[in-house]
Amino acid sequence: MKRLPIKWIFTGSGLFLLIIMMYACNKKLDKEPQGALSLSNVATKTGVNALLIGAYAILDGENVPDAGNAYGSAGSNWVYGSIAADDSYKGSTPTDQPDATQIESWSLSQGSTTAYLNEKWTLLYGGIQRANDVLRVMRQATDIDPADTAAITGEARFLRGFYHFDGKKVFNNFPYVDESISFENGNLLVANDVDIWPMIEADFQYAVNNLPETQPNIGRINKWGAMAFLAKAYMFEHKYDQAKPLLDDIIVHGVTSGGEKYALVNFESNFNAPQKNGPESVFACQMSVNDGSSTANDGGNGNMGDVLNYPNGTGAPGGCCGFNNPSWNLANAYKTDVNGLPLLDGWNSGTVVSDSSNLYTGNLDPRIDWTIGRPGIPYLDWGLDNVAWVRDPASNGNFNPKKNVYALSQAGTYSSTETVFWGATQITANNYNFIRFSDVLLWAAECEAEVGSLDKAEDYVNQVRNRAADPTGWVYKNSAYNAAQGVYTNQTTPADKYLVSPYPVGAFAGNGQDYARKAIRFERRLELAMEGHRFFDLQRWDNGSGYMADVLNTYVGVEKTRHSFYYIVNTATFTKGTNEYFAIPQKQIDAENSTGVVYLKQNHGYN
């Protein structure tokens, strides 16, 4: 009798506590995410603008968790644009970066499993997703006025078009993904059998129509930059008549986002971090270093994609890794004749530039020594370039890359000192120019040659050549290098026998359209070599003609006899009708087609 109440009190209170606890604890199961923002936080003007920055942030092609080292996705496209073309060899030991070996030797038929292609694909859709996120989230925001909406949409659609354009160039059959396609909508299985040029054009056109001429931030795309991309798309579509008026407009009226009139500047200034975003820079990937962004596995906001593209060895600029060595073929292209004109036909025969066994002693276009590190020639302020900087002379040739490299005096300021365990000394704040003004001029020249006036075409080419001919922008021996200005201070002894001249007035008209075409194409190569464009120029000019296969198989045929990549990989052959584009990544084919329905088709000629 005494114990019973105690028992019931205990039992009763226990059950009561249980019920209270159940109620309380069920509520305690609502755990808000920590350290992250939700949609309601970002669906504001500030948030949407920050998302837009995020969409720009991937232009460098880097800093993607789990996407590998991401050389394959580099914004500069050095792998696809330069080494797969005749500009350069992969470099390093013969099969260091075997993915790049396959790409350089056009043996991707099985290599569609290479990580590089998947990196590129994944990265581009990352950019597309981020651009689409801007559009999707913006629609949820209520504090953005219509004018801002149009401007934000313009930038987002430009970036979306930009990433698709890059994918179109590399993969050709590249699915178009707009803001209606998302993980959350469950409609990611997009086929690649649709011509996406109209969509790319529409994105760029929208940007042209809605973007301001100048922007508060120099790195933002403006109306003129977007127009240059629209013109570039037309160039790829061979719509010269549509490209020409745009190019004309840009050349006459175009300004940078900072409001500076587009113009040609000192050649090296295009590749010099302190002079970035000058009047020649139409649209560039903005790089920064020592900004607290680098982590153990990536280069932060610097140019990680080109981290391998430095001379190799402990005393060499950057110190590692001896990739992207310019080809013998490219060096020979800079030969000029007694009139300072390029050797449009015989350039790759006879003595070879910088070949110590049979030295070329003729004239050279001075741009060679800003484009190619050659033995015995001053390499910015790093001293004279030398053969020891070439990692594997048997397969790397004689040359070192240069355009992406910083000056010794810029080390630590424009190169990273960050806590990266790999490659800090090769990560720079040098911008990569997607389009610079000379590019625009040379497209305009092409348009004129195709649908306009050969004289006008010649004039554009000569504008570019006249800049090259300006001796203040040459490389000099026995001189200090002014890294801030990208010039040598003592301009008395040119580093080699430079001679470059404009075409004589009337040369194009006099020699006819084919000559003009050849001259313009040659000029593009000289001017834009090692900037990741060459492969895509060949692709554009090919247009089903076999031109590209001819150029590259001719190239390989000769290079096999020289200490070059093709000396080692001597089975390399460019297959017409296949190798103009790269393979669709097998991983993506597997992923998209794993339901059994074929959404992604492999490109012709690849398994």
């Binding site: 205990f10 350290g35 949609l39 030991t93 990580a115 997703q129 396609i181 596995n297 960050e418 089975t571």
Partner: protein, 1090 residues
Amino acid sequence: MPKKTSGLVKCYCLFIMLACSLSVMAQQAVTGKIINSNDRQPVAGATIQVSGTQTFAQSGNDGSFSITVPNANSILLISVVGFDKREIPVSGRADIGEVQLTATDASLNQVVVTGYTAQRKKDITGSVAVVNVANLKAVPGGTTESLLQGQAAGVTVINTGQPGGVSNVRIRGITSPGNTDPLVIIDGTPGSLHDLNVSDIQSIQVLKDAGAAAIYGVRGSNGVIVVTTKKGRSGKAELSYDGYYGTQRPISRGYNLADPTETANALWKEYTNDGLAPTHKQYGSGTMPVIPDYITPAGAHEGDPGTDPSTYALYTNQITKANKTGTDWFHEIFKPALIQSHNLSLTGGGDKSAYYFSFNYFDQQGTLINTYLKRYTARINTSFSLLDDRLKIGEHVAVFYKQNPGYLNLPGVNNANSIGASSREPGIIPVYDIKGNFAGTGSQDLGNSPQPVAIQSRQANNTNSDWQISGNAFAELTVAKHLTARTVIGGTVDNFYYNNFIYTAYENAENAQNPNSYLENYGWNSSYTWTNTLNYTNTFADKHHLTALVGSEYINNNSRSVSASRGSYYITDPTNLTVDPNLWTLNFGSPGSQTNSNGLTNIPGNSQQTPYQLSIFSIFGRVDYNFNDKYYLSGTLRRDGSSVFDPAKRFGYFPSVTAGWRISQESFLQNASWLNDLKIRGGWGKMGAINNINPTNAFTLYQSAANQSYYDINGTSSSPTQGIITYQYGNPATTWEEDIITNIGFDATFLQNKFDLTAEWYRKSISGLIFVPQPIGTGGLAAVPFANAGDISNQGIDLSLTYHGGIHQELKFDITGTFTSYNNKVESLPAGINYYDFDNSVRLAPGHPVSAFYGYKVLGLFQDYADVTKSPVQDGAAPGRFKYQDVNGDNKIDNADRTYIGDPNPKFSAGLNLAVSYRNFDLATFFYASVGADIQNSIRSSTDFPQQFNNAMSKDIALHSATLVNASGDPTNILDPTARVADPNSSIPMLERIANFSNATAFNSYLIEKGSYLRCKSLIAGYTFPTAAISRYRIDRLRIYVQAANLFTVTGYSGIDPELPGSNTSFGVDGGGYPNNQKNFNVGINLTFH
């Protein structure tokens, strides 16, 4: 105060002993003393029952008891947990003297702790493996989970040799492509085995099926390991010291690499086989390679310019002599190392309290230089009895501090750690240059490997410290005669700190001028669990035994950490570019290079971003009924709610039901004298798993990160603008993995209790696997959420057989064998999805095991160009290269011809414990075997395809690779259309400079090897001093022993060690793991004082 208690009162936990008063209905008092037959120590808490009555007594702390018997012919039944029962006739005596009880860990009456309750072993109807803790402790090791290897049927453990390294523990196969670590419950509260002092363990049970583990609901799917730590024992204080000290010796065989001459000759073959003229910065350009005297200057000989020591300079002329005999890099980094463990424990107590205190110092130096685990652990377990024993209050608490820096993978440099590097660094490179600085691949044309000794040496001062307190406090109240209420509140608080200094590795081929950098991390994890249970137990009509339990539990976990780094530290020793560790603060680095962020947790196997939090709330119940110890029926039900899922998907019910039939109790078997006990049992139930879910999985979230979302939109070169990105998509539809287990088994004891056999068959069907599906590129880069996708099944057999034998009184032996076999299969993937790929070499697809290797199957080598012509079209096909199988028969080799080329899951694994004692000598050995697993030997992708980076090459490829000859049998090259492979039996592809699909670049079966092995894990010989000789020193027990661990391994695997842990989608991959086969020789002592 109860005068009597039911004879079938269950112990809820081992340490709770119900005190009981003496009966007052006495007619005659009998006294006695109960002692342990083994060590003659008193046995406290034994139950003494007068047979056929409800009169009970208990032995006191000194083992003595007094009980009143109705008459002189009464029989006393004496029982206590952990000992065989005895029946003693009183036979008219007033004092029956000493009663010796024989300890029987495996006895059927042993009470084992299972889910929230304890059961006699004979009453268990679920699948519970009871680990023999003595056997467990016989293997020296720093982490307790590693010691489970081979000790419990149904538990597969794969270990690393890294001190403090993480093991793979899988209970009954792989249940998910993600983390499948079992739930570990220590004294009733979730915890970790990783740093548990093994000497503190009283018992370990492994709950393997739903019948046993379903009461853990959504956390039970991967099995539950229930650990009980030692409790205080009332009586005089007793101090024990257990320690061992020994040496670990690395395996004598390193990577089988070619020496410098063999390497140079092979390098020449690389060129000549491809029809190229050889040229090399070290070996010249002649028809034969010349081994230089110096590798820096490259290819120099004595007296050459630059070899004069006065011209030495780091970077420009780091003069380095060639090691013409070849450096044995493996043994430059693997050296003999010490191991020691010292454990003190103190136990005792008074009438109403008991305590257990222990202190352990464990120090294992890794055989890999500069790796170690040093750990200091203390534990205090106390219990108090109040309110006339109706209320028990106590606590279990363990504190440890450890230093366990591990070894770094240097990111980027081919993911090199020193072990992998030791297979890549060419032997011609010496460890040091002429000035004693590190030599390396900075000497040109010798590959790009970082230097193994340099990597390890530079990590000597790195730290990784962890301070943790874990445990619980409990109170248990006997509310009424059959009803007890228990509350337990406990958890873990963990604080960790680690730092790494990355020096400028001047000797390397790559990144030799990188600025140095320093990284520092701090963080904490905490978890608490509050459990309340109410337990009713009663017996009706002597035959109906009923136990019922209800409870509730709330779990809450939090974690947060911070990571910071700087670079370009002030160099205090310019000759070797080092920085005094006293300057390892953030302040001494360049502020321009600083980074900081909230980082990752360091919970093993957990890579969730911090901060994070999660909680679980559960209610559960359990009913056990048995009729006359013959027919058993048991059921459990748990309802769990978890914060990691969307509210609509949060709550789940997890039921189980089991039944057992002790057939040996039936009359028709009562006369089967050979059979002591036989129980047939079966069960079914459902559980869940949430190991693999990101706690914020249901949410689409946006994030800002300097390296991913910032962009220098203003062109400043150093001050980027903040951006935001979508960093994960949410999936509110995700819920737990559901695991349905069917289990059938029997437990038998036969032939005078000499044999114990347990055999079980099970089927686990896991549905709705939680994992990240293969992302589809068009979705972009934001993380794809975990989804429920696919089913996996495991079917298997667990066997354990123990034999207790003896030739005569003084020679006794025990043999225990365990056998674990599972057959793991992916049953299905989401509708329409045919497979998921991981790392280009592992595919998850229905009908195949998880983690199956997937690639091209090598049929052999192409013999000649005629062979190439008649074979299916294959890229790069040429004599001396791989010929792949045309799996789909379309006469061309492409991606569709990849197939399943290996399975890293063993067909079975087995453990064998053998213990023999003769007088005061004891001998014990433990063997472990893993049979039928395949290994992906990724080391060979470097050593057998040296063209990749000019790294070190294997002897196999240098000496035994295929060679090409022409029609007349003379050496030729690949350009020769008449070339054929000289020896048609060659299986090693020819040496080449070229890498392509037909040699180095496609993942194929050349890298797959058989990984079966048998290992003698431990061999111990001990001697226990006779009590008489030592008792005058107040020593109760003194035993000394010598031990050899990992004495030998029998395997056909060509690599260093076939035991290769990893994630569930990449285990069995040898990429230079820390071998677990170092021989270990110890001497040890066990000493007990009073």
